[in-house]
């Protein structure tokens, strides 16, 4: 296991994709921080937003558009669930798994005297490290940005709470990733895994306001983190919500392991 893990980390260490994903996260953190500082610093902005309809009015009344650390750190966590997280994490996964098939290295990897399941586990560990590192980067950059821009209302409790939320949200997204990995392996590349994730997010948006949403694994992070324009509460989630996500993770891992053991791995 150690050998496979070492190899998997080496494979991504020099990868430009690692840098690009970090840049996407950094760009979001910088843009959202600066943009919100400019927009929310304008006292007329909240008023103009409130005229957008009942949902926006409700959000304004709940204080979502006030410039303070609590709101801005919530935006940081919501970025993971909405703006970049799910698709970027899916991309990391299809890259780690699909690349072996796309570049024709899977046939080498699978003819090594190492149990094939080991590579699935090692790759999932790499994906975990990668996505949690991106989350940490996002939060860190948000904190630095807010401090530099002099946003009022700093409190370490806000930072701690945002960190816990971000980790929980990332974990919930991570639970969906083995299925994406399996699809990347079946598709022998990146495209199918990304399309699947896009479709999963699309379905999630479609059922977001229904009672089914809290059972749909791709919507759990949104329920947990909330959405500025659609206030949702963690209270919506029930134990079954988490159990379904954990089951999805187990099924995804099992399918990925079965694939390397039995299916066509010729690429």
């Amino acid at each position: 296991m150690t050998r496979a893990l070492k190899a998997e980390f080496l494979k991504v260490r020099r990868s430009r994709t690692l840098l690009w994903t970090a840049l996407v996260v950094a760009a979001y953190a910088i843009l959202s921080t600066v943009l919100n500082r400019v927009l929310l610093g304008d006292p007329n902005f909240a008023k103009s937003i409130a005229t957008g309809g009942p949902v926006f009015q409700k959000a304004v009344e709940a204080g979502f558009f006030e410039l303070n650390w609590a709101n801005q750190l919530r935006v940081a966590v919501q970025g993971i669930t909405g703006t970049w997280g799910i698709m970027l994490f899916a991309f990391v996964t299809v890259y780690v798994f699909g690349r072996e098939y796309k570049d024709g290295t899977a046939k080498n990897m699978l003819t090594l005297p190492v149990r094939r399941e080991t590579f699935v586990v090692a790759k999932m560990i790499v994906v975990a490290c990668w996505v949690f590192a991106l989350t940490a980067l996002s939060l860190t950059l948000h904190v630095i940005g807010l401090a530099l821009l002099g946003v009022p209302g700093f409190d370490w409790n806000h930072v701690g709470s945002a960190a816990v939320d971000a980790l929980e949200v990332t974990l919930l997204i991570y639970l969906t990733l083995p299925l994406v990995a399996w699809i990347a392996m079946i598709g022998h590349g990146y495209l199918r895994g990304m399309l699947f994730s896009l479709a999963a997010v699309g379905v999630g948006n479609g059922i977001a306001t229904t009672s089914l949403s809290k059972y749909y694994p791709w919507n759990l992070p949104v329920h947990l983190a909330g959405a500025s324009w659609l206030p949702l509460a963690p209270a919506d989630l029930v134990p079954a919500s988490y159990l379904i996500s954990i089951a999805l993770f187990a099924v995804g891992v099992a399918l990925a392991m079965r694939h390397v053991d039995t299916a066509d791995n010729a690429a």
Binding site: L10, K11, S15, R16, T111, V114, V260, D261
Partner: protein
């Protein structure tokens, strides 16, 4: 690990039994039985799409056979045949490597994954594959020939007993082909590695293999040993005669020809004394043998290959046709 140099016992190292692979309505490989013995260089020859790569993929448990099985070094090949994979080196179609890593990192990673502790093995394989000056270069920046060498280095680092290569010279220029051939010859001669090599390039297989298996439309049509192969490549003088028995008697008794073959289609092929073509022709005529024609020709595996697999395909036997003289009267 590591074979005994020069040994060529009868031990079967690779064995396929009734190996079959169907993809929906395509029968890619059909009931393939072949045996490769220790120390052999087995050339697996076939046209594009004949079933070579599918066979190799089944050998390495990359795809599951529809029927039959593969045994390598006495072990039934399956996805987690870890013990067997410890003793096998392989390169299927394109050399697999991580382009963002350097040549050294690629080889070191393979060493780590194989659990080899001695770094000396890296130096050995680097020297053998002549990769020394490229060690710090990213693999993606290598030429096609050097990428192939890197693929070979990865396959060889653990000193395997069996080397399975799928079209190892595919896409290489003539110099690259010679380089790879030299390495393989050296491996066979010095380490006694059993090599299973697929190719659609006849000349390549002829120069390397000690035994050749010809596959066509998923079926193994024929296996030819080195001796037979040599015999097949001999130049001969063929007489088309009315009476083959008398012709043979005249050639042997009157002309002293010792090596000849009588064919049922009324042809007598003479393998020695070819410089005396005119004299032999005259002797036959003078002895009353009706000579309908004669030709100087060369028997080639290529001819045999084309005969076995059907029409000549420009992509298939990629070897320059040597001169063949037509019937002379």
């Amino acid at each position: 690990m590591g074979g005994t140099p020069g040994t060529a016992s009868a031990e079967a190292v690779i064995r396929t039994v009734g190996l079959t692979k169907h993809f929906k309505d395509v029968n890619a490989v059909e009931n393939l039985d072949l045996t490769v013995r220790r120390g052999e260089v087995y050339g697996f020859l076939g046209r594009n799409g004949a079933g070579k790569t599918t066979t190799i993929r089944m050998m390495l448990a990359l795809i599951r056979p529809t029927d039959g099985y593969v045994e390598i070094l006495g072990q039934r090949m399956a996805p987690n045949a870890v013990r067997a994979f410890e003793r096998i080196g392989s390169m299927v179609e394109t050399p697999g490597f991580y382009g963002n890593l350097t040549v050294r990192e690629n080889i070191e990673m393979q060493r780590d994954l194989l659990g080899l502790r001695r770094s000396g093995w890296v130096d050995e394989v680097v020297e053998m594959c002549d990769l020394g000056e490229y060690l710090s270069r990213k693999a993606q920046s290598l030429s096609m020939g050097n990428k192939q060498r890197l693929g070979l280095a990865r396959a060889l680092i653990h000193k395997p007993e069996v080397l399975i290569l799928d079209e190892p010279t595919n896409g290489l220029d003539p110099v690259g082909i010679v380089d790879i051939r030299t390495i393989l010859k050296k491996l066979s001669a010095e380490r006694g590695i059993t090599i299973f090599l697929s190719s659609h390039i006849l000349s390549e297989v002829q120069q390397l293999a000690t035994r050749i298996g010809i596959i066509h439309e998923g079926r193994l049509l024929e296996e030819i040993g080195l001796e037979e192969l040599r015999a097949r490549n001999r130049t001969f003088l063929e007489f088309a005669v009315a009476d083959t028995k008398r012709a043979a008697w005249v050639l042997e008794e009157n002309c002293g020809v010792r090596e000849y073959a009588v064919h049922e289609d009324g042809a007598v092929r003479v393998y020695d004394g070819l410089e005396r073509a005119a004299e032999l022709n005259r002797a036959l005529v003078q002895a009353g043998v009706e000579v309908n024609g004669s030709r100087m020709s060369e028997d080639h595996l290529e001819d045999h290959f084309v005969k076995l697999t059907g029409r000549s395909d420009p992509e298939a036997p990629q070897v320059a046709r040597r001169g063949r003289r037509g019937w002379r009267r």
